[in-house]
Each structure stands twice: as structure tokens, then as C-alpha cells.
Amino acid sequence: MFVNPTEHLEEIRQLIKACLAEDRNAQRNLYELLAPQMFGVCLRYANNREEAEDIMQEGFAQVFKSLHNFNYSGSFEGWVRKIMVRCAIAKYRQKTKLHSVLNIEIEDIAATNNEEILSQLGKKELLKMVQNLPPAYRLVFNLYVFEGLKHREIAEELGISEGTSKSNFHDAKVILQRVVTDSMKIANPKSTNG
């Protein structure tokens, strides 16, 4: 079920008010309203479903804890999403950073456009590709592509240099290009061979 929170501003206001009064039913309703979207976000930042659930859990706990800080000036959905992203960053920080040593070789593939690729690869496959990126690359890729942050902002957020951010993003793209190419070869062996 898709619910656009912006269309239910008044409902959200009521729910927030009830949540601030620590009404557990209201908290559950608010969670159910936003959970599918937020889980979609968490899945991109996580390595697997379990990790995404961990991020989601910590994120929502944080949302309920700091709900009194929401000032209704912007989108509530956006505010919650930011918290989820912050939790994902915190999770990344807690983990030991594993720097992958990559040996990336890009093969030429036949001309295909994004629509064609999308028609052949499902969302789940794309998600799996992102999830399989090394944590640092995945984080930078997500922040740049989906949150729209600049490399300078990413560098500040993660405590790394701007150059590292750019480098991680480039490497992430190279890996994704390779896996997309591989997937396309499997999905359409003729066009890739020919």
C-alpha cells in the first residue's frame, strides 16, 4: 500500500501529537505509514535485508526519541529519511572499514540504453548490485546519487577527504558498470556477443 505522507499532512500532525504523548498505537500507525518507503532507503545502504532492518529499527527509535524536534517547516517524510540515512552512516562508522582491493576490468558491451537495461534487469537485481558494493563505496554512491550531496558535503559527513569521496564514487560506478554488463550478457547473450 502506497501512502503519500504529503497528502496526509493533517493525519501526520495528529499522529505526531499522539506519538509525543507516547501513545503506542499512534507510534505503530506512524511506523506503518512510513515503513515501506524507509525500508526501501535502508535496503540501499545495507549489505542485506537483516542489516537494513537493523538500520530501520535504530532509525525509527531515533525518530520517536527526537520527534519533539520536528518543527513542521519541511516534509516529515524527508526529515525521517534524513534520520535513516544518519543511522546508516552511524552503522557504517561502527563497522571496521574494509578496504577492498579491486581489480576492475571493464569489457566493452554492445550499445544499450537505460530503459532497455531496466526492462531486462529487475529492481531487485539492481538493489542487489548496490548492496554488493563495498560499504564505503555503497555509502558514497547512495549519498551522491540518491541524497544529492556534493563530494565536499559527503567528505564532511563521513570525515574523509573530498578526493577519497570522488575516488570511491568512481570505483563504485566502475563496479556497477561491470556487474550490469555481466548481467546483460547473461540476460541477452546474443546482443553482447554480436
Binding site: 506503518e32 537493523d54 520517536f64 561502527q94 563497522k95 572499514k97 571493464i106 538493489l127 560506478k173
Partner: protein, 486 residues
């Protein structure tokens, strides 16, 4: 390479933007549990404040009660004494005829007999027997004359039997042990000035001895504690006059103190991957702690003193539940780290004895406690108001680490285990703290006082080193104890 794949980010943005999936029911259950924990933690914090306030209130009430009770007891004792005195005086007045009888009896009684009786019972030691004998004769004769009138009082009747010269007269060496007889009536003592008469036992016994010899005066036996001068001086009638010597002297103080710990954290080397001090400050809170020990001091004069001593102090902190990830410890073994503001400890639950790096566990509340031996050196400025003295205190203390402990319950799936480690990495063996406070001493006796002293201690150098977060703990102490002056 294909042009579209150069913009691969667009491909993923189109494909995954707005992607929605439903999480498992466990997510809400876990959120629900964490909200429950949060509520209980809030309640505990509130309850902790309430407990602290109650403890302070109880102490203040206890001190006030002691003060009031003591006053009341003293008042009651005085009242009882006065009542008894009044009652007995009343009895004497009622028994006026009997005392007249006594007078009569005395009048008819032989002075020699009186004297011999006294001597027989060892009441009188005389160095000049004849003189005393004649003296008694004369005295008895005089008193008999006086008491023959209708207005003779009980006191006069009894005075006849009590030999009580004026103690200020040097010529007389009469010693009367009864304190009630220290105020002689002038009318009765003139004749004794030149005689050496010693009455060793209390004169009241002498009186009683005399009275016993007359059967008619049986009813007066209970008046043996009464004398003509029964207005005993109230001992310590002015209660605020306990004099606390201002001369240099030593004192010792034994105390117990409930404490409220707090912690100020600073980022030392905040790098990516390390939690910040702000996160810790949000997640940690002080729990019930205490200290006990003794101090010895030297009072230079009635205003200034210096004190030192030794005490044992516990510092207990609570850290919110969190997920921990296995990593290599300093020895290279893969264990689960627990980060606290004091330092990092490693645990290895039996159900995950061979973890891989990155494996995770959930913890419940993490408790970390530190025990220190504290050696203070402080100056005190005192101001005395009768029994109560107030003082200002300032100084430094060396805090020597005795032990540190981190404990928590960890769980993974259905498995859970209580874990504890006594090894906290990064703790310094000694740190220096400043202390300041106010104190109140209430003197119960000349050398014994009750003390109450709220004091704040705060670290002026961190308790840990080579760690991302430097911790400066502090405590608010409520010292209550007993002080003895030597």
C-alpha cells in the same frame, strides 16, 4: 564503453528511487521493545532524582529531629525536676504540723544525745569534742527558742539539724559534700566560725539520721533529698555555651556520602569510525554511587583549618543498550568491544566463542563502574554560630584507581548471557580532581559534632588516555558523619 553505462548512476536512480518494501514484523517488535526500554529508563532517571532528593530530605529531617528531640528532652528533664521540687515543697508545707512535732521533739531532745548519735553513726568528725558539744548545745538552744513560735517553717526545722556554716569564712573548715548545701543561711552559722567541724557524708544523710531517730517523723523520710537550699543550679543552663576551643587542635571525621556522578566528555582524536563524545553524553547517565572514609584535620585557629584523609569512592554509570560488532582486540583476538566513556572493554560470550570480524550482538544496559581511593588535601574556612559552625572548603584530591568493571547482558537470537570484564583499556592509574563545598558542624558535646557537607568534585585532568574520548568525571557528594576533636 557504452555511453549509457557512463551515466550508470542515472540507471540506478531511475530503477531504485521510490523503491518500497515491507520489512518483517520483527522490526516493529524490536522498536516496540526499545521504546519500552526508553520509557523504563526515563522512569529510572526520574526515580533516581527522586531518590536523591529523598535521601537529602531524610538527612536534613534526621538532623533536625536530633536537634529538636534533644531540646525537648532537656526541657522535659528540667520540667520534671521543677515539678518534683514543687511537689516536694508542697508536701513539706502540708506536713507543717508534723514538722512542728519535730521542732517539739528537737526542743525536748538532749543535745548530748544528738551529738553522740552523730558521732556513733560516723557523721561528725570532731577534733575538739568539747567545743563541738558545747557548740551543739548552744545551737540547739538557740534554734529551740526560734522554733517555739507558730511561724516556724519546715526549713527552719530542718536547719536546726543541718550544720552549715558559711563556706566563705576562712576560720571555719566545715566541709559539706551535698551540693544543695552550698548556700548556708546566715542566721544559723555564726556560732561555728571558730570551730573545726567536718561533716563528711552529705548533710542530708545527717538530717535523715536525725529524723529516723524520731518515730513521729516517719512521714518525712521522703524529704531526704530536700534541703533548705533546694534550688539546684541547672547544669549547662545556657545550651549555646559549648565552647569549641579556638586553640590549634586536631580533629577526625568519619563519613559516608551518597553521590551523584556526572561526566564531561571531550573528543580527543575524533576520527571516522569512532563515536563522538556527544553520542556518549546522550547515551550515558550516572547511577547511584557512594563514598566513605575518614579525614583528619588540623585547626590553626577558630577560622582556618586544613584537612586530609582517605576515602573509597565508587563511580557508576549506565550506558544505553546498543549493538556491538566483533573486532580484533590489542592482542589480535576477535572479540566484541564495549565502548564506554571510561574506556573500551572486550567480551567474548560463550555462545559465540569464535566470532568473525563484523559479527554483531545486542546488549542490554551497559553498566561501568570505577572504584578509586581518594586522598584529598583541602583548606577550610570556619564560622561559628554557637553550636553550629559553617565552613567553606576548597582543595585538590588524588584519585587512585583500584578497579574498573564493565558489565552487560548480551543476546543473539535466543541466546543471552551476562558478561563482565574488569579490563578497561585506556584508564589512567591516577587522576587529579578539584573539590569545593560547604559544610555544617553541629556540636553535640564539646568534642563531638555531627557534620553535613555537600561537596562537588570534578576531574581537572582526564581519567583516560590514548582514547578517542577523554572523560572528566565528577560527583556531587553529600558527606554526613561524626567529627571528634582531640
Amino acid at each position: 564503453m557504452d555511453k549509457n553505462l557512463q551515466n550508470i548512476e542515472d540507471l540506478f536512480k531511475k530503477g531504485l528511487e521510490g523503491n518500497e518494501e515491507t520489512p518483517s514484523e520483527n522490526v516493529w517488535n524490536n522498536i516496540d521493545q526499545s521504546l519500552e526500554k526508553e520509557n523504563s529508563l526515563k522512569f529510572r532517571k526520574k526515580y533516581y532524582s527522586l531518590k536523591t532528593a529523598t535521601a537529602i530530605l531524610v538527612m536534613v529531617v534526621a538532623l533536625l529531629s536530633i536537634y529538636i528531640l534533644r531540646n525537648e528532652l532537656q526541657k522535659q528533664t528540667e520540667k520534671q525536676k521543677n515539678e518534683k521540687l514543687g511537689k516536694e515543697n508542697g508536701v513539706l508545707k502540708k506536713e507543717k504540723p508534723a514538722t512542728n512535732n519535730l521542732t517539739e521533739t528537737i526542743k525536748n531532745h538532749q543535745p548530748e544525745k544528738n551529738f553522740s548519735l552523730l558521732r556513733k553513726e560516723g557523721k561528725i568528725k570532731s577534733t575538739n569534742g568539747d567545743a563541738n558539744r558545747s557548740l551543739l548545745k548552744r545551737n540547739n538552744a538557740n534554734e529551740s527558742l526560734k522554733s517555739s513560735g507558730e511561724n516556724v517553717s519546715n526549713e527552719a526545722a530542718i536547719n536546726k539539724l543541718i550544720i552549715s556554716p558559711r563556706p566563705t569564712e576562712k576560720k571555719s573548715s566545715v566541709v559539706v559534700n551535698n551540693p544543695f548545701l552550698k548556700k548556708p543561711q546566715e542566721n544559723h552559722s555564726n556560732d561555728f566560725n571558730s570551730h573545726n567541724l567536718v561533716i563528711q557524708p552529705p548533710a542530708i544523710n545527717f538530717e535523715f539520721a536525725q529524723i529516723r531517730s524520731f518515730n513521729a517523723l516517719k512521714n518525712l523520710k521522703h524529704t531526704t533529698t530536700i534541703s533548705p537550699y533546694t534550688m539546684p543550679k541547672k547544669p549547662n543552663s545556657n545550651r549555646s555555651t559549648i565552647h569549641i576551643p579556638s586553640t590549634p587542635q586536631f580533629y577526625a571525621d568519619v563519613f559516608y556520602s551518597p553521590t551523584i556522578p556526572f561526566s564531561h566528555l571531550r573528543d580527543d582524536d575524533h576520527q571516522s569510525g569512532n563515536p563522538s563524545s556527544r553520542e556518549f553524553e546522550k547515551k550515558e547517565s550516572g547511577t547511584y554511587s557512594y563514598s566513605f572514609g575518614f579525614s583528619i584535620g588540623y585547626q590553626f585557629n577558630h577560622k582556618c583549618s586544613m584537612q586530609s584523609g582517605i576515602s573509597f569512592s565508587t563511580l557508576n554509570m549506565d550506558h544505553e543498550p546498543e549493538k556491538i560488532y566483533a573486532e580484533r582486540d590489542n592482542r589480535g583476538a576477535v572479540k566484541f568491544p564495549i565502548n564506554t566513556s571510561s574506556g573500551k572493554g572486550y567480551i567474548l560470550p560463550s555462545f559465540t566463542s569464535n566470532p568473525r570480524i563484523g559479527d554483531s550482538l545486542d546488549t542490554k544496559n551497559i553498566e561501568h563502574s570505577l572504584v578509586y581511593t581518594v586522598i584529598p588535601l583541602a583548606f577550610k574556612y570556619n564560622k561559628t554560630f554557637g553550636r553550629l559552625s559553617a565552613n567553606l572548603l576548597a582543595g585538590l584530591s588524588a584519585n587512585i584507581l583500584i578497579k574498573g568493571k564493565i558489565s552487560t547482558e548480551v543476546k543473539s537470537g535466543n541466546e543471552s548471557e551476562l558478561e563482565r570484564t574488569g579490563e578497561i583499556h585506556g584508564l589512567k592509574p591516577v587522576y587529579i580532581a578539584a573539590l569545593a563545598g560547604i559544610g555544617f558542624d553541629y556540636a553535640i558535646f564539646k568534642n563531638l559534632s555531627l557534620t553535613f557537607s555537600p561537596t562537588i568534585n570534578f576531574a581537572i585532568d582526564p581519567i583516560n588516555k590514548n582514547v578517542p574520548i577523554r572523560s572528566y568525571p565528577g560527583t556531587i557528594d553529600f558527606h554526613s558523619g561524626v567529627k571528634i576533636r582531640f
